[in-house]
Amino acid sequence: MSETKPEAHDDATEPWSSALSRLRDELRRRLSANDLAATETAVGPAQIDPFSLFEDLRRRIGKLGMRERSGEVDDFGLDPETIRSARPLLRLLRQRWWRIEVVGLEQVPKDRPVLFVANHSGLLPWDGLVLAETLEEAHGAERRPRFLIADWLITLPFVQPALARLGGVRACRENAERLLETGRSVIAFPEGVKGAAKTFRDRYRLQRFGRGGAVRLALAAGVPIVPVAIVGAEETHPILFKLETPARIFGLPFLPVTPTFPWLGPLGALPLPSKWVISFGEPLATPDADSAHAGDDLLVARLTEELRSEIQRQVKLALGVRQGVFG
């Protein structure tokens, strides 16, 4: 021991981990020289190294507790490490479960922040997450857009921190402005809760687009709007009807009843394997990006309505692309 110590302290800048591994090697060498030499005959030639075994076990246990998770998040709470660990599952969902078909991706501008406006559906924000993943896969991690999430999801413990780490940001003007200002694309669902909470009967019928906030935002920030139609998310959690009274006990706006929830308990959170089509439209021509237009209420209302009908048209087209709900 006394000989290894000065060796490990030679270089003050040496990282402790490498110093530790050198110490471990030294110990191993010495132990194998004395104690293990005696047991070698008993164990046989296939020697089990207790140190590497222990080290392996420690790493595995450490990973279980996510001790080695970076914990480094960006200013909106996105954690690349969480995204990386969720990616295999998300890829499985996208490619095998929902068999997503992407149309018109080449129309998305790659060199500047973009405001994606999509139809909203499904109780859990699968549509935002999937869209963000699709765009990250196509354009790289630094072009990953953030998806805006409704307030009622933020009230949910466990859900809110998880969504924040996956790139979800509370939907409000200040957040979207800041994201676009700092060069990050944003996915907005102007239908809001009305879109997420519509029953199966009203599927693919776009609700009112808020108060034109999305268009106003794009005009003020001078970014193009890309209309996106997402088909298939409606069938992941089809709401048959909503219950009001039991929802009050849990402090939720409503309690949805889907074919799987609450019948299957937590399994009801599993999305159904519907076939998805994501269709990107042509970037909407905004009259020469100028923040002065953002105050023009009539213009904003007209553009909002144009945008809504454009997405509705795209949704209809995309519905034609797929053969059936599960096709």
Binding site: G71, V73, D75, R170, E174
Partner: protein, 318 residues
């Protein structure tokens, strides 16, 4: 050389700011408080003022006049809530009102008020970054925060009526550092830290030295307005606790909020919501405006937190 009066000389910020301005910036500093602090640096002149007395306003006005004070830095706030709700209100709200009256009577050209970003309040519907223009909603269960909100309102009214005085309001977020101590750092220095199950908000800290820098600059330069004093970057609560090597005890929110006699809360006179909601929802402030005026802080949130916990570790070995 200007004469700077600092109220709340016995508070951490008051004392350190007084000594910094007197010894490093070479200003004449008059420190005001109820009692003389022990071992005060020679450059700081202590004057006895009790802001909770009914005649505090006129007494302070006379003093400011006599000492020919040009800058008043108001830091006479509780470091942390006490169970004496009325006493806290008398000192923080009424005391500030007396100080504002005195400043008006003495025609002080520059006034610096120490507030906190806690005045924005932890709310579900907060944007991720709160600008200085955001409404001050505080938290109804945190009485000292509500006192600060009241002081901010009084100050804004007063500033509108006294345009000759340049009023600077500084709102630091949670201060951490090798020597700073308050209810928040005490919460984080527990061995087992209770948190709200299922919540992991983003937090921001500011290093004590960066906070003092901002106050020193506000006291010595003409910078009227309201500024958040925060460090760049945010840390999730889970990371904050993990880097400090704490054991975390997640408690379901309804249970924690029913524990009214919970040890750390019994000392403050507030219900648990008054503190734990700050560990539940977002209340991160946007510091860009302050950085432009006072310079970028030396420590990021992560660095400030690391400086604080490494100092804590060293203390535990002593």
């Amino acid at each position: 050389m200007t004469t700077i009066a600092i109220s709340g000389l016995r508070t951490f910020l008051g004392r350190r700011l007084a000594e910094r301005l007197a010894l490093e910036a070479g200003q004449r500093v008059v420190g005001l408080d109820r009692l003389r602090p022990h071992g005060l640096a020679a450059g700081v002149h202590f004057r006895e003022i009790d802001l909770t007395r009914p005649d505090a306003g006129s007494a302070l006005a006379d003093l400011l006049h006599k000492e020919d004070v040009e800058v008043v830095v108001h830091l006479a706030f509780r470091r942390e809530p006490t169970p004496d709700l009325d006493g806290d209100h008398e000192l923080e709200t009424i005391g500030s009102l007396s100080l504002l009256h005195a400043c008006a009577a003495a025609a002080i050209p520059r006034l610096v008020i120490g507030s906190s970003t806690m005045v924005y309040g932890p709310r579900l519907d907060n944007p991720n970054f709160l600008s200085e223009a955001h409404p001050l909603r505080g938290h109804p269960q945190a009485h000292c925060v509500m006192n600060r909100v009241e002081v901010e309102r009084l100050t804004a009214d007063w500033a509108a009526r006294h345009p000759a005085t340049a009023v600077t309001v500084l709102r630091p977020c949670w201060i951490v550092g090798p020597t700073y101590r308050d209810a928040v750092t005490r919460y984080f220095s527990r061995r087992v830290v209770p948190t709200l199950m299922g919540y992991d908000p983003l937090l921001q800290f500011v290093h004590e030295e960066d906070c003092l820098d901002a106050f020193a600059r506000a006291a010595t330069a003409h910078r009227p307005g309201v500024y958040n004093v925060v460090a760049p970057g945010v840390l999730p609560l889970s990371t904050v606790l993990r880097t400090a090597g704490k054991r975390v005890l997640p408690v379901p929110t309804p249970i924690l909020y029913r524990l009214r006699a919970y040890p750390s809360q019994a000392q403050t006179g507030d219900r648990p919501e008054g503190f734990y909601d700050y560990l539940r929802y977002l209340w991160v402030a946007d510091g860009r405006r302050g950085w432009e005026v006072f310079g970028r802080p030396l420590y990021s949130t992560r660095e400030a937190w690391m400086a604080a916990i490494s100092a804590e570790r060293m203390r535990s070995y002593r």
